[in-house]
Amino acid sequence: MGAPKFAVDPQTLVGMELPQQRAFVEPRRLKFFLDTIGEKDPVYLDPAAARAAGFRDIPIPPTYMFCLQSLDNPGPNRILELLGVDIGRILHGEQKFIYHKAACVGDELVFQARIGSIVDKKGGALTMVAQDIRVENGQGEHIADITNTLVIRNPQDEKGAA
């Protein structure tokens, strides 16, 4: 297979817990996200509509937890850093959210990620890194489980991978 594709043997990272990350659901930042994707549902824009729907305050839309993790934790992606992988080599493979409780404006969320598996695909042209992330709110309530699969494109001797 030629030169090593990673800074460390990926299998030594499987099961590793990554440092805990915290993030705040800030109203103006959330509004920017809603405007960007074009969401106009009053439940996300008007606190009164959110309360009428049974929420404490404006809830976050289905994919926003993924954004919060990045927004409040700038800097290099920890997994890429550990593996020694340039950001230009990655693609997003899979993403899943299981929701237990709503997250609303004003909440602080805590993300605890664990590296679930690291598997080669397409004869080693791609490496899939799966993370399992448990999300709690500031009260310690378990509000969601997230799974995320990153695809790393590996350098090829012959022609480049798609």
């Binding site: 405007d35 074009g38 996300y44 839309p61 289905p62 954004c67 950001i87 493979g93 899979e94 993403q95």
Partner: protein
Amino acid sequence: MSTTTAALKVGDTPVSRSYGPITRHELALYCGASGDHNPIHVDSDFAKASGFPDVFTHGMFVMARLGMALNAVFPTAAIREYGVRFASITQVGARITCEGKVTAIEEVNGERRARLELTARDQNNDVKLKGEAVVALPQGDRA
């Protein structure tokens, strides 16, 4: 809305929504809005140096729009699970059509739920995202 979703059955396609072409400007805004600052989505020099013909859409931007299409039918409090596989890269200019088809109606802990198969396709009918959602249904008015 609740009466229509209460009456859903396997094979129905309650989720159906199309969006206009994705612009470079939207990709720039999405970087800031999402905190995903990978230059591959906005810097064509970087994208080319990484082996791509041009910048391309954040998968999560398309997932957000597919989520909006789902959310237009099922209130956010009803969404139990939402997951996708990013089947192929979504190019700049893609016009995305989102669809969701009911594949099962089940009862979990006394709650009626629908399982939906979701797709996001571009104007060439290429599948960009393939996913699944589980949503809670209102108690049906049994006919």
